[in-house]
């Protein structure tokens, strides 16, 4: 596989710096209930209404592993081509904070549920494989709200105990484009698997970003800084760009980078030091004695493997091989599971080439213009398929199809009905077309003369006139054929 690197270098004086990026993505497990309790996980509920005694850490309350969350993590691991660890351990990460009711977070430290894996990025320069270091399960904390009461901090524990997958990449990313592609691919895989909805606005996907720089050609890594909790791809890119440039400046001025945790300030577009390595928390990790080591049987893992749906990479391969799509087209169509489902539904009864063009062209333009997700698409796959068939069998021209498409977008109607109601059916009767042509020739004797004297360009004029008098409905192919004969 090609391992093309898109160049992202920072130049200062006569030096060129390469940026090395690793991501720790926190993906909320798609699950009705929490990792260790049966409390619901619905987003946007009234504060403190989705909290069990376990989530609020009442005395004597004990965590019980939610098997569904384990399955989700294993499925994700399989989707990342990763090693599934048959034995993993839940540890306690101890620290005090108002929205951490237990005084510790249950996480996985030395023995995560999923080990090394990989992700294929689809870049403009080709494909690139990025390594996955590990995936582990952990509890989310609650939320401290500092701006609702002038005197007090309020705590909402709805999120407390929700299952998160922390997916750690290797430091394999080298550019903002790769970061974008990585997040999108990871999100896509998890959405295909149904293990995370990937909704960044709702905080289902957040990331800590590790950034370091090194002079181009240097082998070892530079000292890295970790930027905490960035919740959109755009902010990740802004934070990385700022941070990489900051590090280069420090080095160019003869300084050294301190390993530290930094925060990204969206308003000021800068990263700020949060705590240095010396101030790093001592989390006093130790195995949670309330939970036995998690042991997975081969059968458990194999049953999940058997039920893994076709993932983007395989789907892309199939689309290219079976439908003769270009890699570019295939990428676009598989990147989102909903799009790929839509595509496959349309082509079930319609021409593949035409469908591909209409989906990646007109439909995407429409969605883009109206700022809609594919799931909010006003045109059903069935209707688009019908429209394409109307074009294919010559009932309507491509041009007419575009106006029908517009009506479909506004009214959601069946294209067949639109065509009939508006009388947009294509004129394909040669005798009728001949009549129209005869009229145009009679009406334009001068032009006919000019054409016959060698002004070939005028042919288009006649076609246009015929189409005009037909109200755009004449079959352009037939018009061409007959017109050529008539003007001989």
């Amino acid at each position: 596989m090609a391992k093309n690197q898109s160049e992202y270098l920072i130049k200062r004086n006569n030096n060129e710096y390469e940026v090395v990026i690793g991501l720790e993505v926190h993906a909320q497990v798609l699950s009705e209930s929490k990792l260790f309790s049966s409390a619901p996980t619905k987003f946007g509920a009234e504060p403190n209404t989705q909290v069990s005694l376990v989530d609020a850490a009442f005395p004597g309350m004990l965590p019980v592993i939610n098997e569904f969350c384990i399955k989700q993590a294993v499925k994700t691991g399989i989707g990342l081509n990763a090693k599934i660890n048959k034995k993993s351990i839940f540890d306690r990460k101890n620290y005090f904070y108002a929205d951490l009711p237990q005084g510790y977070q249950i996480s996985q430290y030395k023995n995560p549920i999923v080990g090394e894996g990989s992700i294929v990025l689809d870049l403009t320069t080709g494909e690139k494989i990025v390594g996955i270091e590990r995936l582990h399960l952990e509890q989310d904390a609650g939320k401290s709200i500092h701006d609702m009461d002038p005197q007090n901090t309020l705590v909402d524990l709805n999120r407390s105990g929700i299952a998160l997958m922390e997916i750690v990449s290797k430091p394999d990313l080298r550019s903002l484009e790769e970061v974008n592609a990585y997040i999108k691919k990871l999100r896509s895989i998890m959405r295909y698997l149904g293990t995370c909805d990937g909704n960044m606005q709702e905080g289902s996907l957040r990331a800590d970003v590790n950034v370091s720089v090194r002079k181009k050609g240097q082998k070892g890594f530079g000292t890295r800084c970790e930027i905490k909790n960035v919740n959109s791809i755009k902010f990740m890119q802004m934070a990385i760009d700022y941070e990489a440039n900051r590090q280069v400046d420090v080095i160019e001025e003869g300084g050294t980078i301190d390993q530290e945790t930094r925060l990204f300030d969206i308003k000021k577009n800068e990263t700020r030091s949060m705590r240095s390595k010396e101030d790093a928390h001592d989390y006093r990790y130790f195995p949670d004695p309330d939970l036995l080591p998690l042991e997975l049987s081969d059968k458990f893992i194999n049953d999940l493997k058997k039920n893994i749906p076709e993932l983007p990479d395989e789907k892309k391969k199939r689309f290219i091989e079976k439908f003769k799509l270009s890699p570019y087209e295939a990428n676009i169509l598989v990147s989102d599971i909903e799009t790929s489902k839509y595509f496959e539904e349309v082509i079930e009864k319609s021409d593949v080439k035409l469908s591909t063009n209409w989906i990646t062209g007109e439909l995407f333009a429409l969605l883009n213009e109206k700022n809609l997700e594919i799931s909010q698409n006003p045109i059903s796959a069935k209707n688009l398929s019908k429209l394409i068939n109307l074009i294919k069998d010559g009932t309507i021209s491509g041009k007419i199809a575009k106006s029908v498409f517009e009506i479909m977008a506004d009214e959601g109607k069946d294209p067949q009905i639109i065509v009939e109601e508006k009388g947009l059916k294509q004129q394909s009767d040669p005798k009728e077309i001949e009549k129209l042509i005869d009229k145009v020739i009679t009406d334009n004797p001068d032009k006919v003369k000019e054409y016959k004297s060698g002004k070939d360009k005028l042919f288009g004029f006649f076609v246009g006139q015929v189409m005009k008098v037909s109200g755009g409905k004449a079959n352009p192919q037939l018009v061409n054929e007959i017109l050529k004969k008539k003007l001989l």
Partner: protein, 484 residues
């Protein structure tokens, strides 16, 4: 007919079933005696009025099929009881009223019994004398100004003083067996995983286990039967076939092999304890069991390992008492200040000591040297037992290295206090069942106990051995009601 309060649990159940006495009569008798015994300071929270009402209700609509029909029971204040204050002997939970019930107490009420009240204990079950309780020390009915042992000191004292027909405790390093030994009563720590930990205020999760505290071995068998259940709400609960411990109780120990570990002959152990042990050995031998000398070579490392593992877990388990969600809160300038003041004022010295030890041994840089090493030692101790259990069916040892001591005698010497648990701690580390039964008195007239340690999940076996020894020894607790 003897006084109600002199009847054992099994006798009471029989009399109630035969309608010779009512639940109300039994409950009233215990309420009355409890009210006259405040000097012992056994109760942290009384629930007498409601108990009497419940007893009345039972009598009006009795269900004699239940295992504990209309039996009033006071329980250690470490078990969360719905709508009744649960303090764990701490100021920090001084105002805490759970909205839920622990599985073990739920099992008791489902079996027909009635809650009398909550019994004093060492703060968060950390102590061997009941002196660390925020609610004051407990008197041992055996003698004035004697500690009842700990941490289930209130339970042991109330049981011995006949303020409850039977009771339950928890045992992390000896907290059932040592107070049982100090008060001349029976106490059993079941195999780890036998009784659910759900709803019990946690001290050290990998060691904590609830168990019965009773007047005799029969009562112990019945109560264990009721308490023990598989519980999905506790991930460490074990789904094994639980016996009908009372029904299957017998004293045939003929042919059984009983191990006598040489490492339990510790330096400085009083001769009286040594003699008591020998007495136990003789009884078993006469009953037809075979005595086997065994070695548990890692015993000497048990106490240090315990005092790393238990505080480590405790330091984390007690982090939730931070003044944010429930319990005591002290005002502070900011979050950190509030934490510091709440925890400084809310916890007593022994709890703070253990939180500090635990935090230290888990710190990065020390983790491997302390916590990890202690876990390895724990494994070695368990291996010791696995090894000897290839040769013997059970092990006989003294329960404690001394009898009850005076209140205040060891308060300022934590290490000497910790040494009290020297015979009990290894059993918790190995997760095994063990029972302490009263076996005699020392020169001061204070009771002494013998401990029988069994194989995992073989509670029936140690109950049977205990039953045989009990019959031979025929121990009678001499309590003169000095506090009344």
């Amino acid at each position: 007919m003897p006084d109600i309060i002199d009847l054992t649990l099994v006798e009471l159940v029989d009399k109630i079933r035969k309608k010779k006495i009512s639940s109300k009569e039994v409950t009233a008798a215990y309420v009355d005696r409890s009210q006259k015994s405040k000097k012992l300071n056994t109760y942290v929270t009384e629930d007498f009025e409601i108990a009497l009402k419940k007893a009345d209700n039972f009598d009006k609509n009795p269900n004699y099929e239940k295992k504990l029909p209309g039996i009033p029971i006071a329980v250690k204040d470490l078990f969360c009881t719905k709508n009744l204050r649960t303090t764990a002997g701490s100021k920090i939970l001084g105002n805490f009223i759970p909205t839920y019930e622990s599985t073990v107490t739920e099992n008791l009420w489902n079996a027909g019994s009635i809650l009398l009240g909550k019994l004093n204990c060492d703060e968060f079950a950390m102590g061997s004398s009941n002196e660390t309780s925020f609610f004051g020390n407990v008197q041992n009915p055996v003698g004035e100004n004697l500690v009842p042992g700990g941490s289930s000191g209130g339970s042991a004292s109330a049981l011995a003083a006949k303020l409850t027909p039977t009771t339950i405790g928890t045992d992390t390093g000896g907290s059932i067996r040592q107070p049982a030994s100090f008060t001349g009563t029976v106490g059993l720590k079941p195999t780890y995983g036998s009784c659910s930990r759900y709803g019990i205020v946690a001290f050290a999760s990998s060691l904590d286990q609830a168990g019965p505290m009773t007047r005799d071995v029969k009562d112990c068998s019945l109560l264990l039967e009721v308490m023990s259940s598989y519980d999905r709400k506790d991930s460490t609960s074990v789904d094994f076939k639980r016996g009908n411990y009372l029904k299957e109780l017998n004293n045939s120990i003929k042919g059984k092999k009983i191990g006598i570990p040489k490492e339990y002959r510790v330096e400085g152990m009083p001769k009286e304890i040594e003699d008591l042990w020998q007495k136990g050995i003789n009884i078993i031998k006469e009953a037809g069991a075979e005595i086997v000398n065994i070695s548990l070579p890692n015993t000497k490392y048990a106490l240090p390992a315990y005092y790393i593992v238990a505080p480590a877990e405790a330091s984390s388990n007690l982090a939730r008492y931070d003044g944010v969600k429930y319990g005591f809160r002290s005002k502070g300038e900011n979050l950190i200040d509030m934490y510091e003041k709440t925890r400084s004022e809310g916890f007593g010295n022994e709890v703070k000591r253990r939180i500090m030890i635990g935090t230290y041994v888990l710190s990065s840089g020390y983790y491997d040297a302390y916590y990890l090493k202690a876990q390895k030692v724990r494994k070695l101790i368990k291996n010791d037992f696995d090894e000897v259990y290839k040769k013997v069916d059970a092990i006989l040892t003294p329960s404690t290295p001394s009898s009850a001591f005076k209140i205040g005698e060891k308060t300022n010497d934590p290490v000497s206090m910790y040494l009290n648990d020297i015979f009990t701690v290894p059993i918790n580390l190995a997760g095994l069942p063990a029972i302490s039964i009263p076996a005699g008195i020392d020169s001061k007239g204070y009771p002494l106990g013998l401990q029988i340690i069994g194989k995992a999940f073989e509670e029936q076996n140690i109950l049977n051995i205990a039953y045989s020894i009990e019959k031979e020894i025929n121990f009678k607790n001499k309590i003169n009601d000095w506090w009344m």
